[in-house]
Symmetry: C2
Subunit: 334 residues, 2 copies
DNA sequence: ATGAAAGCGCTAACAA
DNA sequence: TTGTTAGCGCTTTCAT
């Protein structure tokens, strides 16, 4: 890597002259500016990022901590973050907490040593369970702002981007009720997460508004055999004519399983799930989905953070942004 | 962030004493070391990463450039890279090229200014099509090693991690032939990629070893309606009794579509596809898959790079590592 | 118009 | 055993 020093030497001027010339300072003579720029161009000079960071005490880098990159929703949010960040000249350093509180703490610690200007994160499952927030608070106190998305810690004062999980599931369930469905089941493999709970509550609310109906939920563990559980569930609850799925896989599996058990979708059973375009393609008919606009969530989170970094917002002047979902009707509903 | 300077001041010793004490230098008195460490602990002192990077001229950071993070295979490789890197004390900066040559060049440029010690990347589709490699070569010449995985540029001398695509598809096709299948089709939505081409060639080789059989390939564009294309394909080629799918979605869709068209899987049609555990769950029966061990690919790539960085390997002393696939038999084959 | 010098936080050779 | 100093690459204030 060529440095200012080398350019200066070759041009027989001082380092500061070169620096100023490259930064279009008014102080430097036109002729000199030209010579400097030409040589810099020739050598493809780029200012050393690390030196700049040290000098200016900011890195133009955002730390992103996500629990699971194999989760398509989270990957998509990451995509949104990356794009928005890149558009503003920020890089992202990605850490994966693997749903572990320990790893989350560690990543926060590790990057809080000057590597990044702030964080965007989705709280790990273990952290939510244990309701630990101290590490978030102390990071913020160090002057490193945090933006949380999707799964957030309510006790922490910071910017947040969330989905209207409760409302979306409520509305989705209502739309099945409007089709005339009477036995609508709720299927989830994420009932350990705050968003999973919210979704179930939204479903339950819609159901319980009709005194003659009852809730019927299948809660599966992450590592259960989801196909088997869903098949058994269908077999043990014969009259199911509607399904609301809380995660991206369950809806697709429910449709294919229903078909395989001889039900017609959507004539006999309607299915709605949280999913993305590509995954909703994996069932026949295609899954009617609640789109969370993951990219927008990411973009919003990045905007909030960058705005905070560039305008030095106060620690308690925080925003919570709600990104609305859309119901994309497809073949699995009437 | 507390600095050495502040600690030194408070302890009434020099900065270098503090530095040495914290680095367990033999030079410093036991008593002093103790005092220093206690105060550092109290203030939760962490050496500033940026200053260290500048001083030592290395960042302990790896630049990862991937074409598409929504591709499950690539996300999984990223996961493998991150974990292996973290285990060795490296961070990763992730850039997404979006399959664009321009963005790939840009990312390489942007990070080659001291932000990272080296790169792990998967060549963008556009780059492969135009067969551009200059940006890779010049990055390497700058002293920043590159490790390529999956889609690689053969003309660039660097470490590589690849899958035995040709052989895997050849073997998969053979295994269908051994089931007695006579009309085995190949379905792909990635025939624009080097790996897509290799997979088709592996399939074709196995077929053409039997003079009485012919190849039958469905090549779809990325943004085609894959369900529709596959349905039409089945309808126009009545006798298909086996499918080899080159990408992760096509196999799943083929199974579900076959079922929906009234075929029994695997009795009437056997299907094998490249996929991951979670996606193979999306069809009933489950897809028999060629597992690429994406995490291992990532881990291997990270190892190669870190090894090179730490041992200063010569530019032409390069390795190509082939990660073998495994055929995971499931319900979609006999 | 140009240059010298300080300083960001740290390490390490050298001096005391 | 401890401290002084230089230097990593850069910007910027203050001379010249």
């Amino acid at each position: 890597m060529v440095t200012l020093k080398q350019l200066a030497k070759e041009l027989n001027v001082s380092i500061s002259t070169v620096s100023k010339a490259l930064n279009n300072s008014e102080e430097i003579g036109e002729e000199t500016v030209k010579r400097v720029k030409e040589l810099a161009e020739l050598y493809n000079y780029k200012p050393n990022k690390v030196a700049l960071s040290l000098k200016q005490n900011k890195t133009k880098t955002i730390g992103v901590i996500i629990p699971d990159i194999l989760n398509h929703f989270l990957a998509k949010v990451l995509f949104g973050i990356e794009r928005e960040a890149a558009n503003h000249g920020y890089n992202i350093i990605t850490c994966i907490s693997n749903e572990s509180l320990e790893k989350e703490k560690e990543s926060l610690q590790l990057l809080a040593n000057g590597s990044v200007d702030g964080f965007i994160l989705c709280v790990a499952q273990e952290t939510q369970m244990k309701n630990e927030v101290q590490h978030f608070k102390s990071t913020i106190k160090k002057g490193l702002p945090i933006v949380m998305f999707d799964r957030v810690a309510h006790d922490v004062l910071c910017d947040k981007v969330i989905v209207d999980d409760f409302e979306s599931t409520y509305n989705a369930t209502k739309s099945l009720l409007e089709e005339g469905r009477k036995q609508i089941a709720f299927i989830s493999n994420i009932d350990d997460l705050s968003v999973g709970k919210l979704r179930e509550r939204g479903y339950a609310k819609a159901i319980l508004e009709n005194p003659e109906l009852k809730v019927l939920a299948l809660r599966m563990g992450r590592y259960d055999d989801h196909q088997k559980k869903i098949r058994t569930f269908f077999e043990e609850n014969k009259g199911i004519d509607g399904v609301v799925a809380a995660d991206s896989a369950s809806g697709v599996i429910a449709i294919n399983m229903a078909a395989s058990l001889g039900f017609k979708v959507p004539e006999d059973v309607s299915v709605i799930g949280f999913s993305s375009k590509s995954v909703s393609n994996h069932s026949i008919p295609r899954l009617t989905t609640i789109r969370q606009h993951a990219k927008d969530i990411g973009a919003n989170a990045a905007q909030l953070l960058i705005n905070r970094l560039q305008n030095n917002l106060g620690e308690d002047d925080v925003k919570t942004k709600i990104v609305k979902t859309s119901l994309i009707r497809s073949g699995s509903t009437l």
